[in-house]
Homo-oligomer: 110 residues x 2
DNA sequence: ATTGATATATCATTATTTATATATGTTTTA
DNA sequence: TAAAACATATATAAATAATGATATATCAAT
């Protein structure tokens, strides 16, 4: 550690409004769940129905529906109904970057 | 939605091992807290002592210490003791990208 | 129109985890 | 030994998750 660093007692840059951090934390927390990450991973490859997602993620239908709706409510996903089937897809392209970012850290540590 | 998308019933790419998703989720969840995001934001600007971080983040000393140790345990931060003071700093440079990524989404929605 | 089957959503319960606050303990230095 | 700097413990409260049962809505066939 440098002497200069030790002397630093305040940050140079202005800090973000706490309200922004709360929104960011909610958004991240919504993604920070293994089953939801799996769903995101699946949806980064295209649109799928609830049943297809349930099957691919090996979750029950109610659990899948719950996770999907939570992520839609937070703006991570969007859905489109066509008759009795609902197609979900990724609303926030940054999810791809974040997933890659986090997973590359994991690989690196193995 | 294209007809091709509707027909897709399985993902093209192999999915990640679930264990990896669990680690990724834990890692993300650790960051997904407004107070911890504030601490990360501060530490992205340099090294600080526990007291300095508590003061800057407007948290109590025990709360600050708790968050710091949690993030260190998950590998987000590292600490270095010098006498009776402990300096914390960011261990994972990707935190900067993730914070920027998430916050730019927020700004965009305002 | 009524029936049955399918796709999705909601609800209620229980269990688990997480956050916050206050008090106390430990280590180091003067 | 007294203070300063951190860490830990404990209790309470709050949020989150998992599960199974049930409800709603749509479609297809008669």
């Amino acid at each position: 550690m440098s002497a200069a660093a030790k002397k630093m007692t305040y940050p140079r840059d202005r800090l973000l409004p706490f309200e922004d951090l709360k929104v960011a934390a909610e958004w991240l927390k919504c993604a920070a769940h293994p089953h939801r990450l799996r769903i995101i991973e699946i949806l980064l490859q295209g649109e799928f129905t609830v049943d297809a997602i349930a099957s691919l993620s090996k979750l029950s239908q109610p659990a899948t529906s719950g996770h999907l709706r939570l992520m839609e409510a937070k703006g991570l996903l969007v859905s489109e109904r066509s008759g009795r089937t609902v197609y979900y897809s990724v609303a926030e392209p940054k999810l791809k970057d974040i997933l890659e970012c986090v997973c590359s850290s994991i690989k690196h540590k193995k």
